[in-house]
């Protein structure tokens, strides 16, 4: 199936990516080519096949529940676009 310009607008919104109106035609064309490629996979009979989420059947490792990590807030916030007193700054969301 093919996507419509409306679909692309919806996906762009979900993905939080602004798309200029003048590039939306090219984006739509490329997306439809990719969907055409993956279409062949949809026809395969997979009844009763367990989905494979990971390359190896691993179980999550558990560790004892104790404090191990040092506080590295300052180091991690040194690469943030805008911080103040240990807080990440974003545009106002509550009026």
């Amino acid at each position: 199936m093919s996507l419509t310009p409306d679909d692309v607008r919806r996906l762009a919104r979900l993905a939080r990516i602004a798309i200029d109106p003048e590039e939306s035609g090219a984006v739509l064309d490329r997306l439809n080519r990719v969907l055409g490629l993956i279409e062949e996979m949809r026809k395969v009979d997979t009844q009763g096949i367990e989905p494979m989420a990971h390359a190896l059947d691993l179980v999550q490792r558990l560790r004892s529940d104790d404090v191990r990590e040092a506080n590295q807030r300052d180091a991690y916030q040194s690469v943030a676009p805008a911080v103040d007193e240990g807080l990440y700054l974003v545009p106002k969301v509550i009026e």
Binding site: A12, I17, D20, M41, M52, A55
Partner: protein, 485 residues
């Protein structure tokens, strides 16, 4: 010196015939001389020379490791404190990681000398290293051509003899395909063998870091340092350390080589087919046994891969929102607008396209038909390998259906580019190791890659079989035309 193996370099360093400072200087000079190939995003001359000095001192104290004093370059997706980690993206143009990746730490501890960070397709999404914010990398065999991707900078830097070894990452072929296009050796290890701590995530059920080098023996030495358990990566496998060089002395007599007809069908360039079939005949001549096997679901690999990888990417790359790190747009009206503009400006075309595809296949109403279905077909592909490996020890075929193509020649149609991954996507989908080594040249004089794939944890066997071939051939010793020694 720049065409020497790690073994030769290690002996020369140990015997004080050369110093690490001299070797590092030679690499830095050569990197500078071939800057036009655009294989590096950052080079750290001062840091490299300081590390080289320290390595020489360490050797003098008799504390050297096999790789102490050897210059190395990292793909710019591995976090380093010494230099930026850009992932080839505007989004991370000024990102300086507060910590080192596990692989970076391990190589530093072994005493290697980090000289620079290699160019790559943005966030490792691509097969040509054209999709880099820092411009396309060029192939040292012919600078009008791509070096392959996404670890194109790493593979081409080793090919051009700018550095003896480099790291790469492979999600759908990003170590092996550029190794094939550039005429060097590259190994994608078993999923979980090399820690991904500090490796910027693309598709987490597939991503794996691995070595790139001139020879199979060198791959073994580099993997010996890279591999190992790390509690900071929840997918890291706890198992006893092994020596990946232990099969180097073994011969290939009796080795059962699986030959899938799916890897020798239509769409393969004649020059590629000829070189790969000749390599197969060489193995048969050495007493290896050819076994015809089937991988009936492997032709679906590209379709499955281009559902699963974008789905996981759309989730992983949601972290780039202009809040915690990386680019933030300058003009915006509210929080939503800030996210949307930041991501529109920070990501390139290919990355945005994959995020949109991933968003679609995960979205309400399409999840079962695309993502879940892809995971089921992935199981079928993995089963094919498990069946085949009951009858053979390794699977042999071409790494890519073509040799290197011209920069810009596949830019208009993403599907054409994706089809180049047809032989490389299956190994990461099944989680098994695979390597690519040079096996000759096509009629245009471009290197052809031979791919050997094995069952989980068979790296040492693969390296041994590749090494045997390299003792009888000299394809891996050829120096590219654009970068003579």
């Amino acid at each position: 010196m720049l065409n020497a193996t790690l073994g030769e370099l290690g002996s020369a360093l140990a015997a004080k015939k050369i110093s690490s400072v001299e070797l590092t200087r030679a690499c830095l000079e050569r990197i500078g001389k071939h800057r036009a190939l655009n294989l590096f995003i950052d080079v750290d001359e001062a840091g490299a020379l300081a590390a080289a000095k320290e390595a020489d001192a360490r050797r003098s104290r008799g504390e050297g490791h096999a790789l102490t004093g050897i210059p190395v370059a990292h793909k710019d997706i591995l976090c380093t404190r010494a230099m930026r980690t850009t992932c080839g993206s505007k989004m991370l143009e000024n990102y300086k990681s507060p910590y080192d990746a596990h692989v970076v730490e391990r190589l530093e501890r072994a005493g290697t000398v980090l000289v620079g960070k290699c160019n790559m397709d943005e966030f490792a999404m691509g097969s040509s290293t054209e999709h880099s914010y820092f411009g396309p990398a060029r192939n040292p065999w012919d600078k009008r051509l791509v070096p392959g991707g996404s670890s194109g900078g790493s593979a081409a830097a080793v090919a051009a003899r700018l550095v003896p070894i480099a790291t790469g990452t492979d999600t759908g072929g990003s170590i092996r395909q550029p190794a094939a296009f550039s005429g060097v050796c590259g190994l994608k290890p078993t999923y979980g063998l090399v820690s991904r701590y500090g490796l910027v995530a693309f598709a987490s059920s597939l991503d794996q870091a691995g070595p790139i080098a001139k020879s199979a023996a060198d791959l073994a030495l580099l993997l010996n340092v890279m591999a190992g358990f790390d509690a900071r990566d929840s997918t890291s496998i706890e198992r006893a350390a092994e020596d990946y060089a232990r099969f180097l002395p073994a011969d290939v007599k009796g080795l059962r080589i699986g030959v899938p007809k799916e890897y020798f069908g239509e769409g393969i360039e004649p020059g590629v087919r000829r070189a790969v079939e000749e390599a197969l005949r060489w193995y048969e001549g050495q007493g290896a046994k050819r076994i015809d096997v089937e991988l009936p679901n492997s032709p679906l690999g590209v379709a499955v891969y281009y559902v699963i990888a974008p789905a996981e990417a759309s989730s992983n790359l949601s972290r780039f929102d202009g809040v915690r790190y990386g680019h933030r747009a300058t003009g915006y009206s509210d929080l939503m607008d800030m996210y949307c503009r930041t991501r529109a400006e920070g990501f390139g075309t290919e990355v945005k396209q994959r995020i949109l595809v991933g968003t679609y296949v995960l979205s309400h109403g399409y999840y079962d038909a695309y993502y879940l279905q892809a995971q089921k077909v992935r199981r079928l592909i993995a089963r094919d390998f498990a069946e085949a490996f009951k009858r053979c020890d390794v699977i042999l075929g071409p790494t890519a259906p073509t040799t290197a193509f011209a920069i810009g020649s596949k830019a208009s149609d993403p599907v054409q580019m994706y089809m180049n991954d047809i032989f490389t996507v299956s190994a990461p989908l099944a989680g098994v190791p695979a390597l690519s080594i040079p096996c000759g040249f096509d009629e245009k004089g471009l290197p052809v890659g031979l791919q050997l794939t094995g069952p989980h944890f068979s790296e040492a066997r693969l390296i041994g079989a590749a090494h045997r071939y390299q003792q009888a051939t000299d394809w891996h010793l050829k120096v590219p035309k654009e970068t003579p020694l």
